[in-house]
């Protein structure tokens, strides 16, 4: 286990995955990148695996609704949203905690004035 990346060590939890992927698929249906769950200010960045899973689930859902779905234009739209989600999720994960900490610190300092 110690050889695995930290995020890969967590036990696979089907219920959690289903809830998250369901929410991300809803975002895709609204034409939004599936980069986070929840809404501001309580949004949580989605992980790479959940983003990929949502793309696959959305693909299956659309094919079930319409067997003709899957044209190059349909897939191009989907891939763009997935690419954006991956980029945003990476930045949210890498820089988000530090930015929130800076904002909280500034808020505290202003409160002292």
């Amino acid at each position: 286990m110690t050889f695995l990346p930290t995020e890969s060590r967590a036990q696979y939890q089907l219920r959690r995955t289903l809830r998250v992927v369901h929410e991300l698929v809803l975002r895709l249906k609204q034409g939004l990148p599936p980069n986070e769950t929840g809404v501001w200010p309580n949004a949580t960045a989605a992980g790479l695996a959940d983003i990929w899973n949502s793309a696959w689930a959305y693909n299956c859902l659309r094919l079930e609704e319409d067997p003709k779905w899957g044209t190059p234009s349909n897939l191009s739209d989907l891939f763009r949203l997935i690419l954006k989600a991956i980029e945003v999720s990476y930045v949210q994960t890498k820089f988000g905690p530090e930015l929130k900490s800076i904002a909280a610190h500034e808020h505290t300092e202003q409160g002292k004035d």
């Binding site: 609204q30 034409g31 939004l32 990148p33 980069n35 986070e36 809404v39 501001w40 200010p41 949004a43 960045a45 739209d77 763009r80 949203l81 690419l83 954006k84 980029e87 945003v88 990476y90 930045v91 949210q92 890498k94 820089f95 988000g96 930015l99 929130k100 800076i102 904002a103 500034e106 808020h107």
Partner: protein
Amino acid sequence: MSTLSKERIEARLSEPGAKRLVITPILSPKQLGDISVDLRIGNQFIVFRLHMGELLNPFALTDTQLRGLQERRVVRFGQKFVLHPGQMALGCTFEYLQIPSDLEGQVEGRSSWARVGLQVATATCIEPGFSGVVTLELANVGPMPLDLFPGVRVAQIVLRDVEPAVKEAYAGRRKYFRPIGPQFSRLTRDEDAKPFTRGES
């Protein structure tokens, strides 16, 4: 037509259903001002190839030819894009926006950046129903090269009510559909420009 205050912006960001305003991600609460939301710069840029010094008549070119005059550059987060004095480049917001049918947005630069020579946006109206990242027309009008770091706040969007709400959605009827990076100009698709641009004497 009234401008949305911070309180109303926050309410619309968390409103369920079609009236929800989406600006994702908001990495820091600092981005919400009293009447605006700060926007960060993304990591894709389109620059002109400077060695091609021909006069530019976009209506005499095809989409492909027009794109050939420019090139797309991607900069890693943590690295910089240098905008030289007099240089113009297209960038985009890092945030993905979805504007509901009863709001419109105006994208403007931040004054702190303007004071060091950066102009951020000139075609600033974001229509109701728009979905995607916003292309920014960046220009350095100062005397020094400017380092632009993806992720830094360079612009802001001011939101206003649209009354009555627009019935026909933006999606699918405009030239720029759900972009995730800066978009090349599609002036050549302006059919109504043809009578004026044939060049007959």
